[in-house]
Each structure stands twice: as C-alpha cells, then as structure tokens.
C-alpha cells in the first residue's frame, strides 16, 4: 500500500511541522511575556512540544531510544523543572519583568531577524542529508539564538534561567535534527545536568532572598534582591 504509506509519511511530516511551529511560537511567547510565572509555564509548554517532536521523530525514523529521551523530556523538562521554578517564583516578591533592557516589540522584531539569520545559516548544511527533520535544523538554531537573546536582554534572574533552558531545548532539537539524537548515555547526562542546574538555580534564588533581606544593593548582580526587600 504505497499510497497509504505516503499518507502516513505525509501526516508525520505535517505533525512535525506543526509541532515545530508551536515550539517556535512558545519561544517567541517567552520573549513577549512579562509575567515570570507565565514564562515558566511557557517553558513547560515548549518542552512538552519538544518531547512530542522527539516522539514523532522516533516513530518516523525507528530510532527507539528517542522514545526514552522524549519520555525524559516530558518528565523532567515539562514537569519537574517548571515545578521547581514555579515554587521559586512563588516565594519571590518579584512577579514581573518590569523593565527589560530591550522593549518587547523590539525584542520580537529582533528575534524575527534572528530566525531569518538561523534560516540563512542552516541553508548550506541542509543540503547535506535528506533527513525527515531537515527543517528542524533552522528551528533549533533559531531557538538557541532566541534563548541567548532572552539571557542578554532580560534583567530578572528567573527569565534568564528560562533563557538558558531554552538554549538547551534548542540544542536538543538540533541534536535530534542532525543525528536523530545523541547516544543515550550522553542524553541521560545532559538531562541530569539540566536537572541539577535547575535545582541549584532554585536554591540560589531562595538563598538570595534569605541572606540579603534588608540590604538594597543597587549595583547587585541579582536584581531580585533589591526589589524583594519591603
């Protein structure tokens, strides 16, 4: 039944396309979002779509350890890390990114430009292999860029952490796109690292709040501190 198989292939392709669309959209939404809690939720959404993409790729390519990576993705990045961050945000008094270094419309436009650049950079690489997930290359690169931009342009630590995690998600997508995922052991290591990093960030946020209660260091590297104090 070649027609049927083609149809399946087509549906898989479309599913990947739609997933990657949502993936990218959630990255843009993080850029456009002021509320810290929403940023974290959007990150969770992004990770969810990433896991879903990985699943579809696993199905399409028959590389079965990707299923495992996808499951880990759902568990750690779409559930555990957002939980940790949400709790951290709840304890902070800072709820919003009040004044980003670059205002939001400009940020959006800059990220649009980064997307075009990513597309441009990935053009020569794209020609090399006829993989199913070719387009994800540009998308992964774009998400990495956007994550970097979030880290650069936002003042609040939580948003910067989300930016960092976005970069990681982009890298995961890149790995999936180029080689259908890294060896399982590397994948596991990365997940573990990310988890530890998120834990450390969470603890760090509390620590900052606990130790520097009344001081208002204007030049502090962690600006939350200043705004926490009543």
């Amino acid at each position: 039944m070649p027609v049927f198989q083609e149809l399946i292939h087509d549906v898989q392709g479309q599913a990947i396309n739609v997933c990657s669309m949502f993936l990218l959209l959630s990255s843009f939404a993080i850029v456009a979002q002021r509320s810290l809690a929403s940023c974290v939720s959007l990150y969770a959404m992004q990770s969810f779509f990433l896991g879903f993409t990985a699943m579809v790729v696993a199905n399409a390519s028959g590389v079965h350890h990707l299923y495992f990576a996808a499951a880990l993705n759902f568990l750690i990045k779409a559930w555990l890390i957002p939980r940790i961050l949400h709790r951290a945000v709840d304890r902070l008094n800072v709820k919003r990114e009040v004044e980003p270094l670059v205002n939001i419309p400009s940020s959006l436009l800059i990220c649009g430009g980064l997307m075009i650049l990513a597309l441009y950079f990935s053009q020569p690489i794209k020609q090399i292999g006829p993989l199913l997930t070719n387009d994800s290359l540009a998308l992964g690169l774009a998400i990495v860029f956007i994550g970097c931009f979030i880290m650069i342009s936002r003042r609040k630590l939580v948003t910067q952490i989300v930016g960092f995690l976005t970069v990681e998600n982009g890298l995961f997508l890149l790995a999936t796109a180029i080689t259908y995922g890294m060896p399982l052991i590397v994948e596991l290591g990365v997940f573990f690292d990310i988890l530890v990093a998120a834990l450390i960030f969470g603890v760090l946020l509390h620590r900052i709040q606990d130790t520097v209660e009344s001081a208002r260091p204007a030049e502090s590297r962690f600006e939350e501190v200043g705004e926490v104090a009543p």
Binding site: N103, L119, Y120, Q123
Partner: protein
C-alpha cells in the same frame, strides 16, 4: 522635431532674457516669464509625445571647440517620458506662478526671479535630453545653480541663506560622485558620449562596475534625497518660492531617478550582481520609512511635504530595486514590472507632490505663514484650494481611486512575486520590504490626514487664517489641472501602462503591457496573482455611496437637520480646544520613540506666594535630528579641525616658509610629471 525643439529652446531663452529687458515693470515681467514658460512647457509636452510614439530616437549634435565636449541631444523613450513629466508639472506651476508671484511684487526683482525660473526649467529639460557626459554635467550644474539662486530668493532671512548654503554644499558633493561615475565609464569607453558608454557598458570589469554603482547611487542619491543624504532637502525645498518648491520636489529630484536608470539599465545594460538591487531596495525602504516618519513630526507644512518627498523617492527606488533584483536573477518580465511600477510612481509623485506644494503655496499666500498650528477652518474660506489639496492628500496616501494607489499596488505585487526567486533570504526580504511599504503607506495616511485636517478643518487657530481669502484664478487653475491629473492617472492605467512599458522595453527587452492589462485594459493583472480594476473601483465607490444616500432617504425620509455648536462638555468650543498638529502626531511619536528620540523640556516658574500657581510655563519638545547629529556633525568637525591645523601651518609669519612651500610644491609637480 528639430523645429519643435528649437521653439522650446527659444521660448525658454525668451523667458530668460525678455523679463530682464523691462526693469521695474513687474506685471509685464511676470506675464512674459511665466507665459513663455507655459508655452515652452506646452511645446515640451508635444515633443515628449512625439518622442514616446516615434519608433526611432531623435538625435541632434553640434560639435564644439572644447575638447571632449559635444553638444548632443537625444530623445529616446526614457528621456521623452521624463520630458513629458517635466513639461506637465512645469505647465501647471507656470500658470500658477502668474498669480502667485504677485506676492513678491516690490520685494524681489521680478525679472531675476522670472529668468531664473525659466533657466531652471530649461536646464532640467536639457538634462534629460543630454547625450554627452560632459554636456550632462554642465547642465546638471546649471540646474543646481539656478535652483540654488531660486532657493535664496528671500536671501535677507538668515535661515534662507543657511538652507541655500547647505543645499549648495550637498549638491556639489553629489556632483563630485556623478563625475566619478562618468570618469570610470569614460576610462572604459574612451569617450564622453553616452553612445560610447552604451556600447561598452557590458565590458566594464566587475570591480569598476561596483565603483560606478556606488558612486552613481551616492551622486544621484544626494539629489534625490535618499536617507542619509536627504538632510539638505527639508531645508532647501521649503525655503524656495512655492512654485519653485513644487518643481524641485516634484521634478528636480526625479532627474536623479532618471540618472540612476540611465546608468544602471542603459549604460551597464542591466547586467549586475543581485546585491546591487538589494542595496537599492534597502536604501529605498529605509528612505520611505524614515521620510514619512519625520514628515509626521513637522508642523511646517512645506517641510512636511519635503520630508514626504524623501518617502516617495524611497518608494520609487523600491520598485526600481526590485526590478534590478529580478533582472539580475533573469526574470525580465518581473524586472519590467518593477521598472514600470517605479516609473509610474515617479510620474504620480511628480503630479501630486507639486499639487500639494502649490496648495501649500496658496495657504502661504493667503495666511502668510507656513506653520500649520496657525491654520484651521480654511476649507470654508478657500473651498477650491481645499478641494484640490484634499485630492492631492488622498492621492499621496495611496487611496483608491487616485493615482498613488495604482503605483503602490504595482510595487506591492512586484515585491510579492519574489517567491519565484530561488534564494530563500530574498524570498523573505522582499515581503518584509512590502510590509515596510505598507507601514509607510499607513503613516503617510496619518501624515496627510493631519496635514489636511489641521489646516483646512474646524476653527481657525490664528488671525491670518480667520481672514484668509480664496486665491487668484491662475493659481486655482494650476492646482485644478494637477488635481484632475491625479484622478486621470488613477483611472487610466490603460493609457499609462503601455507608454511605460515601451520605456522599460528599451532596456529590458520584454514588453509586458498586454500581460498586465487584461479585460481589454479595464483591469491590471500580475501573473494570475492579483488583479485590480481602477475604473470598476471608482464606479463602485460612487454607486455604493449613492446606495447610502438612497437608504438615508428611504429610511429617514426628507433630511431634517439643524446646525448647532459642537458639544464641548458644556463650554463653547473655541480654537484652543482643537487638537493641534503636534498633539495629533503625539501617539505616533511615542510609539516610535526609538526612532525619534524625543526630548521634552518643561520649565515652570511659580508664583512666590504659592507653589501651586505657575507664573510662566515653557514647554519645549523636539526630536533628535539623528543623521545630522551623529553622521554629519562629526564629519564636519573633523574637517574643521583639520582646516584649523592647516591654517596654523600655512599662516606662518615668515616669508621664507612660504617660499619653501612653493618650492616644495614645484618639486613635487616635477616629480609627478617626469
């Protein structure tokens, strides 16, 4: 044709010299200068028509004693198109000037003004006809110099002299680059004649070609007023008498477009790398956006119009840039479409911009001020001027059914058709350019809603506006003619497109008129991708507005209305409650504050008894003139410092040193020529 040309030449020459023969007879001088100019422009229209219809270009040459200079003229389709444009606008401004210059009686020498005006028109006419680079440069300079003298007509004012000087310096920088362009081409062709340029254009090596491209873009771009070379334009264009402003903004900047097309498509034969087109497109996009953004912030009506010229030049360059990109990628039909769109907008802009400038002149004539904040309520006092200005404002905002819409629509379609280019970066870049064109169109709508609404509607804000009267008949004829042209060019792409198609076919080699015009010419179509029919739209608008009237009568019966004062929360509405031009543009200023970098100063002086009552408040708000502050001033400062140092070196107190300099110079010269 030669006879026709000679009669044009002699009419202009008569216009130049005869007014000077009747000193102090201002009426005669005025009639003579502008009457002869009108005659010359009429003849110019005929000659242009002949040039557009004749299959073979008309050519005439006189040799001269000066080496390399040949007084040769050539009327091909491109030149004929520009000749028609110059003559059309020139006709309107000449008729208008008959009434307008009465304002200057007793203040300015009418003979000088008239003869300079004719000289200006003549030099523009000859610039597009010239067929020799040397001759072209002489005429180009003549055009610059006569326009400079016209700019400084009211030279007793300080800011006029400043504007004139600024213009003179900038235009000479531009001329230097044009000379560079021609020198490179000369080196390749070993002759200054355009014919030789044309023959040898494709042999220009690529690196030199790039030099030609950039030099021509900077040189002609200075005249055209592309960002960031536009800085002189909002000073020089408004300070000239209004009929000259109309010519400068409507026509003179177009000679630069002529030069660009001549060099890129005629001399270089349309063979260039794709990035040239991208550069032109980007420059055009930036000019279009920034031009209209700065225009919005002006409340000097003529300055607003000058900035809007920057915008429209940008739009024209977008069409031409897209054409260049398509030409480089081997899509001659799309390239032709781009050039046609660009040229259409060139013509349209010439018509509506001169209309608006003349309208601004009428307001100046009636109220003696250029400040929009003192206008208001003029539609009741100057109904005809108001109507014509409104048509111009609708046209420049690119709204159907006027001409601005047609050309912008064509440019949109041209940019959309980029999806055929096999380069993904350009595929995305061109639609973004289209989006920016849409933004500049939207801002232009806001800008001209402001220009018309603040000037002509509601209550007068100043005493001059209160006592304004309708202008003399010649002025209204000039305005009316152009307003009619706006509508005709809007409804009649069926007549315009074939003409433009023949112009572009000269370079691109493909005729696309039959493919653009479908349904016996009633509709415009681009490659099955889009269609629009201007006459149908106009009829629909009229008929459906009629349906509105019908409903009003069917449902509401006979009109019962009464006139009563505007509701102002219980107060009588006075002109101080009206929105001002500054207030109207304020939200836009705030939203695009990244571009404008506005500065606001509020100084208040309180009463001594209480700090709640202010004795005096001073509010100042201005936007940063970005390019002048960050681009021009540093360069000027460097030059000033260098010249200071040079002066210190040369102004030595000893004769021996001077002699030393002279001797050193001599040695260097001998070394060089050895």
């Amino acid at each position: 044709m030669t006879i026709l040309f000679l009669s044009i030449l002699f009419s202009y020459l008569g216009g130049i010299f005869l007014p000077l023969c009747f000193p102090n007879r201002e009426f005669i001088q005025n009639t003579m200068a502008h009457g002869l100019a009108s005659v010359a422009c009429l003849l110019g229209l005929v000659l242009g028509y002949e040039g557009l219809t004749d299959p073979e270009p008309w050519h005439i040459a006189l040799s001269s004693n000066i080496p390399l200079l040949e007084l040769s003229l050539r009327l091909d389709r491109l030149a004929a198109f520009f000749l028609v444009m110059i003559s059309l606008v020139g006709l309107a401004t000449s008729v208008y000037a008959l009434g307008y210059v009465t304002e200057y009686y007793g203040k300015v020498s009418m003979g000088t003004l008239g003869s300079l005006y004719n000289g200006f028109l003549l030099s523009m006419t000859l610039v597009v006809l010239a067929d020799n680079a040397f001759f072209f440069l002489i005429l180009w300079e003549l055009m610059s110099v006569t326009s400079y003298f016209l700019v400084v007509t009211e030279h007793e004012k300080n800011e006029v002299r400043y504007a004139g000087l600024f213009y003179l310096v900038m235009t000479h920088i531009g001329t230097a680059f044009i000379i560079l362009t021609f020198l490179v081409l000369f080196q390749n062709a070993e002759s200054f004649s355009f014919e030789a340029f044309r023959q040898s254009g494709h042999t220009v090596p690529e690196r030199l070609g790039t030099v030609v491209f950039l030099a021509a873009l900077i040189g002609f771009g200075t005249k055209a007023g592309i960002v960031p070379l536009h800085v002189w334009l909002p000073y020089a264009h408004p300070t000239a008498p209004s009929h000259v402003s109309a010519l400068m903004s409507g026509v003179m900047v177009k000679t630069a477009i002529y030069g660009l097309i001549r060099v890129y498509f005629d001399f270089l034969d349309g063979e260039f790398p794709w990035w040239w087109g991208v550069v032109v497109l980007v420059v055009g996009t930036v000019s279009a956006l920034l031009g209209v953004m700065y225009a919005l912030m002006q409340h000097d009506l003529k300055k607003l119009l000058a900035y809007s010229s920057v915008e429209n030049i940008g739009i024209i360059l977008m069409g031409i840039g897209a054409g260049m990109i398509f030409s480089a990628y081997g899509f001659p039909e799309l390239a032709a479409l781009g050039i046609i769109a660009g040229l259409y907008h060139t013509l349209n802009h010439a018509v509506f911009k001169s209309l608006l400038f003349l309208g601004a002149g009428s307001l100046l004539y009636a109220t003696h001020t250029r400040n929009m904040e003192e206008y208001g309520g003029l539609l009741k006092r100057m109904p005809w001027t108001g109507l014509f200005f409104l048509i111009g404002a609708v046209a420049i905002s690119a709204l159907p059914p006027t001409n601005g819409f047609v050309s912008e629509w064509l440019i949109f379609q041209n940019l959309f058709l980029a999806y055929q280019i096999p380069d993904i970066l350009l595929d995305i870049l061109l639609p973004i350019a289209a989006a920016m064109l849409a933004l500049s169109g939207g801002l232009a709508l806001a800008c001209f809603a402001k220009a018309f609404g603040i000037s002509f509607l509601a209550l007068p804000r100043g005493s001059h506006a209160k006592h304004a009267q309708e202008t003399p008949i010649p002025m209204r004829i000039g305005l009316g003619g152009l307003a009619v042209m706006c509508l005709v060019l809007g409804m009649g792409p069926i007549f315009v497109i074939p003409v433009l198609d023949q112009v572009s076919a000269e370079f691109v080699g493909v005729s696309v008129a039959e493919r653009i015009l479908t349904m016996d010419g009633w509709a415009l179509t681009t490659a099955n991708f889009a269609s629009v029919s201007m006459p149908a739209l106009a009829i629909m608008l009229l008929a459906l507005s009629g349906v509105g009237l019908l409903f009003a009568h069917l449902l509401g019966g006979k009109l019962q209305s009464r006139s009563y004062k505007t509701w102002g929360c219980g107060l009588n509405v006075t002109s101080r409650m009206e929105y001002t031009a500054t207030g109207f543009a304020q939200p836009i200023k705030r939203m695009f504050s990244t571009v404008y970098q506005p500065t606001i100063k509020l100084e208040s002086e309180m009463l001594e008894e209480s700090r709640y009552f202010a004795k005096r408040k001073h509010f100042d708000s201005y936007i940063t003139p970005f390019f002048q502050q960050y681009l021009y001033e540093p360069v000027v400062n460097i030059f000033l410092r260098m010249s200071d140092r040079l002066r210190n070196m040369t102004v030595a107190h000893e004769l021996n040193l001077y002699l030393g300099y002279v001797f050193a110079a001599l040695l260097v010269v001998l070394l060089l020529v050895r």
